[in-house]
Subunit: 321 residues, 2 copies
């Protein structure tokens, strides 16, 4: 469960007022924060504490994570000249702390560690919009008016994502997840033409070196394309049922998801009802990793999440409606 | 094109600092603002200048439209006791200005007038969240934890929407559009159980008294259900191609949409390319009303929109790629 930490009191106790980008640079702290939800909930995998803008920040883009808002870029990318603000990521030099955190975690963990990176489109959207966006107007304007710059930027960001993931795998990450959180804002035609090739370079670059999970929100119309980008597991949000996702992408891909995080806030009883339905659907598909359909919401009650994890562990097919 | 007015200089000239809710109460002003985009763009229909919270505001809910944010409710609805804050809408008494605006417009317009209302779920989400929401946690919590209150609220809001629409039709509106803008935040199971029955009461209540358009954003997974709620036209946002929408709902329903509003901001050339694709898809479906897939964005260039309207009017099937 991504961002499972932020609803925990032990997380708030250990995290001082430094920014996430600063916390990520402290391997002891980053490892501890990664371990907290594993200890508390007994989940079956850990996901590295990091942020999708860590690599671009590390190579010099002036970016900060503003609480309650998200990544904010001091000078947004808009022109061909902005391409010079990026360079290839050298993980050993630029993000040694990420490598160190992975190594520390591998000593501590008895469950697999999932490394991660932001997909080129989603990272580009932060760079171009200058922060979180509702309409992605600048990003879409760039792709539709200056393809050369757009594809050059996608190329740079795919190299950065791939290098970062490879370094995490080399350090011991057992699987990777590529977050294209906002791909669902695009029409399928735009996704296929403007985004898919760069994403494919990342996922095919990983190849068989680690199991790959590909995730976005509101991507019901894109699932076949996102599966075909070269992944082993496809993340699905709650808007698309696993049954529909299964019909669209077939049994070649495992599915991950897809409880609505808001239902966890509604309480354990509604969460169990929805979870049982999802587990039944997942069992019919075959390969299924139970998860929320998006990150854990900050106001989530850790007690409900703990009970939900137990419920999933104890559940057997056919035992619920 | 909904919200086509707000990008116009003549709109900004006529709208003083009063709130939209105040402007709606001035029939001369509301009619003029409705007419502006029709004059400027030569579109084939007018959509009434109003807001989906006008009826609940008129019956006493303390609500204001905050610029750049949206409707903000002073005291959000959370409990069964809040149901007493609503009562049936009596349009002649509560919203006589809406009726008057429609009558004024019918004298002026040579194109059809589309009346409108907010669908029960979307209006409820504002009442419960207290304003625009990203995750709809309070709304989803209420539906999942207190069905009795939820369904009572849906019932009240469906009566209010239906009364408002009926009064607009009686005054002369030629068609109506029901906006369930945020329905796409729900899983299909939740939509079907918690929302569809109330929406159906509104649309079936209108019946054949006027053509009905049913619209939401990000509703690709809900299209069959939204069509089956009792509509003649189904609005589709840009995420779902008209070809896919056509395959899902069949030829019994006309489709409306679905140019990405952000592509209009990219400029006339990309907008034409996308529009031609949409028009070809719409022509293959049969009944098609060209429109944006969501409201006009405030930063839109009116010149581009005007050129786009001409392009649509002059376009003939098979003439573009």
């Amino acid at each position: 469960m991504r961002q499972a930490g932020r609803s925990l009191p032990e997380y708030r106790a250990i995290r001082t007022n430094d920014s996430i980008l600063e916390a990520v640079k402290d391997p002891e702290l980053a490892a501890e924060v990664t371990l907290q939800p594993v200890r508390r909930y007994g989940v079956d995998a850990a996901i590295l504490f990091s942020d999708i803008v860590v690599p671009v920040s590390a190579i010099g883009v002036d970016i900060e994570i503003v609480a309650g808002r998200g990544p904010v870029v001091a000078e947004p990318f808009r022109y061909a000249s902005d391409l010079a603000r990026l360079r290839p990521l050298e993980p050993e030099v630029d993000t040694p702390y990420v490598i160190e955190t992975v190594k520390l975690l591998k000593k501590e963990l008895s469950v697999p560690l999932i490394g991660f990176a932001g997909a080129p489109f989603t990272v580009a959207s932060y760079l171009i919009e200058g922060g979180p966006s509702r309409n992605f107007t600048h990003t879409k304007a760039l792709m539709h008016t200056d393809e050369t710059t757009w594809f050059a930027l996608m190329d740079q960001l795919s190299q950065i994502a791939l290098s970062s993931l490879q370094s995490q795998i080399t350090a011991g990450a057992d699987a990777i997840q590529l977050f294209d959180s906002w791909a669902g804002a695009l029409s399928r035609a735009d996704y296929e033409y403007f985004v898919l090739p760069a994403t494919r370079r990342v996922l095919e670059g990983i190849g068989e070196s680690a199991p790959r999970i590909h995730f976005g929100v509101g991507t019901g119309e894109l699932l076949e394309l996102m599966a075909g980008a070269g992944t082993d597991v496809l993340g699905v949000d709650w808007r698309t049922s696993l049954t529909d996702a299964s019909a669209r992408v077939g049994h070649r891909y495992a599915l991950q998801g897809n409880l609505d995080p808001a239902v966890v806030i509604a309480g354990i009883e509604p969460a169990k009802v929805e979870t049982a339905r999802i587990l039944e659907e997942g069992a019919r598909h075959g390969g299924h990793i139970f998860n929320l359909g998006h990150g854990v919401l900050p106001e989530t009650d850790p007690g409900v999440l703990a009970e939900l994890v137990s419920f999933v562990h104890e559940w057997e097919p056919g035992t619920t409606r």
